[in-house]
Subunit: 487 residues, 2 copies
Amino acid sequence: MFKKNRLALAFSMVFAIAGNAVASESIDNKKNSELDHIHAYSEIVIPQLVPVLYESVSPTGGDAPLLLRITALLTNAWFDAIAPYHETAVGVYSKIRRQPAKKRNSYRHMNIATMYASYQVLSNLLPEHEDKWREMMQKAGLNPDKKQINQSTAIGIGNLAGLAVVQARQNDGMNQLGNDDVGAGTAYADSTRYSPVNTAYEIENPSRWQPNMSEHRYGQYSIQQFVTPQLKDTKPYSYSHPSEFVAPYPEASQIENYVRYKAQADEVIQARAAITEEQKLKAELFNDKLTSLAQSGLDTTIQRGLGLAESIQYEFLSNMTTFDTAITIWDNKYRFDAVRPFSAIRHLYGENEVDYKGKPGENMHSVRADRWMSYLPVADHPEYPSASASFCAAHAKVSRQFFGTDELNWKLDYSKGSSTLESGVTPTQDISLEFATWTDFEMDCGNSRFWSGVHFKPSIGAGRQIGKDVADRTYAFVMSHIRGEAK
Amino acid sequence: MFKKNRLALAFSMVFAIAGNAVASESIDNKKNSELDHIHAYSEIVIPQLVPVLYESVSPTGGDAPLLLRITALLTNAWFDAIAPYHETAVGVYSKIRRQPAKKRNSYRHMNIATMYASYQVLSNLLPEHEDKWREMMQKAGLNPDKKQINQSTAIGIGNLAGLAVVQARQNDGMNQLGNDDVGAGTAYADSTRYSPVNTAYEIENPSRWQPNMSEHRYGQYSIQQFVTPQLKDTKPYSYSHPSEFVAPYPEASQIENYVRYKAQADEVIQARAAITEEQKLKAELFNDKLTSLAQSGLDTTIQRGLGLAESIQYEFLSNMTTFDTAITIWDNKYRFDAVRPFSAIRHLYGENEVDYKGKPGENMHSVRADRWMSYLPVADHPEYPSASASFCAAHAKVSRQFFGTDELNWKLDYSKGSSTLESGVTPTQDISLEFATWTDFEMDCGNSRFWSGVHFKPSIGAGRQIGKDVADRTYAFVMSHIRGEAK
């Protein structure tokens, strides 16, 4: 949850200036004039969106399928909204007339188009926060009630680009509207009729996924439902079908291969029992997609002083990349339906004790296997391959390609006790995490899923490979749109 | 969620006065002198507790097992703490020396004892809110660090009474400490190894309970776990074993009795399709135990001008009554494991349409049976008998006995749009709900579970009967402690 504070700090000045505009529906000229030079997407849209995402979509930033679709669609709308101001670029869902040379690359026009495109997409994806999106427009000195659609004004272009994304995407397979024939009739309900082989109560097949039961509030427990299994059937941007990227069969997760099954579970027990403070912080960092993925990308564009158009192109590239990766990862997860470590450990050792590291100060060195818990809360989808490992690898690869270097130099400072899972206790002193290269970022990200006990080792490699393979497609896809070669 | 506002209003004056005391650890003499005449339990403890309960235990006030145990244990501690100041009363878990005549019935001594008893119990039950309980003491001008235990000072008596309740109750069968051999090792985890016959995905046996799947956050669904099944094995106050109160076999819930099975489901479909605004508000009111039970009791003691000792005796009676009722109701729910209306309707009609009333303005008059939803969210435990009906009947009966009359005269005002489930829309104009008698209260409470689609009709009668039977025991139990006849 690093990002909230950092963004709050970074953009507090913008907020302070914008404060007065909020109450009024009319355009604030002072604020509006800032659109000549700021990056409205990062200085107004993102700071307005991020708290809503943490509050309403994912308190941990860890719920990837829903988060990544929102950021992919939003950055898509930005990309499409500024395409007509570029020399060659064409939008994905709207082919808007190229603007005259005098408007070309104008921050003012691109910012206004981006704001209206954002408003359209966010009102559609998170309609219960409509007041926030109106406030967002007012912070930019813009009137959210201007609904015109055309190919000649920034407002008209922004609305057009945003609505085209909404139109193309609201029935993309994710059941956003709850209007499929199969599901419960509510938003994002499962369209696949997925039903787990195991219950939370009993492991029928120890090779397969078991939903976890956990306390969701004081004394109340609930059981996981595989989150949006239909993500596997959702339309990717950059390839035809997720079956183009199938991971190797997870041999060691099959109980028939007992020796390997036990060995990979024992490996997780040992890693979890030996987890260090630094590993805990890395596990928390990479679990939070808004910080690890979105923030690392944004920081890089700022650090490198990218212009507005290039920044937005990179934002679309990196966010669409993880979304397209998620689709095929979900296809793989659905296909293999593989067991998580907590179930395998419970199955192997039952009520026997296994090595463990309790909370700091607890001096606890073992635990009954049926009470063993991963350091990170276990996510609500099958184990293989690791989604986080795939996202980080894909994100790293397109970043390397876009910036032409592996150099990253990303540094995060953690004050004593700033851990979210061991708040007030971990770390025992101020420390920093540094990622010199995208390769370091990608490796630590993948490995953190193993240290923290939510994944077996083979998942990490399998996830990374898929991420890299998808990255080649998404990079080509975005480049062809920037060059105007896309059909 | 009525109570929060009403209490906030009622006690804002107390808070305003107490405001300055909060920052300081020392005793505020001005505040402290108020203890000579106020009812500290209702003017300081309850206003501090209620927001915590809504925030951390039950946002809807509907999660009875956990709420009722907290209020039973807390009021028990009050009762025991003031017993030594009474002519004849004896505590349940502490038999403290009767205090000399000059202290007898002293508000000051009783208030101080009540505050320290509250502090002990709340620190034990809700330890993560320790700062709130310290603040609560400071609002009374009392020092939470005074830990003495004795039978001669109000502080010593309060601590003693509170700790005795904690001691007697923390291993009462609810697995509060997560220290049973069976459960997950976490607080209140199931100690019974309950496993439902049906999954959320498939109805194997249409007579039995099916956990519901619902969206718990944007696009994320989860599946119910029977909440604290071990409540059935928890020690009651006033009787030996819950099997003393077994409801009639729920014949109509058995699929073998197809005609009756279908008839009782059809009855629910029709009631839900015809639900009125007033019925919606009553359903919401009686779903919220903190308002319907706790608030009606508190309002009655105030309305009738009860003294401090009598008020506390009534509080313990009414709160312990619903807790003891809950224990046997859970035993019955576990025993019959009966199907909820949503499952029966789904089983009977599948994808066919049934009569329905959509949200106001939707003009929706039917829905696919597999998407039929009750007006109230369906609770996380089997259907038969109705817990709410039993609580209201028990609460009404002991109130009638204690006050010697059926008269209630409880009136609640609802402003336009103040519904929680249809916020901003229902009711379409300001209305009031009035309950002239406890009998009206009890009948509307029970029936509201049927109107709102969470219960079949036979559950209401069965629940009411058990509530009344338990009430006889709890009334006798409390009276024998007040008269000092209890062993």
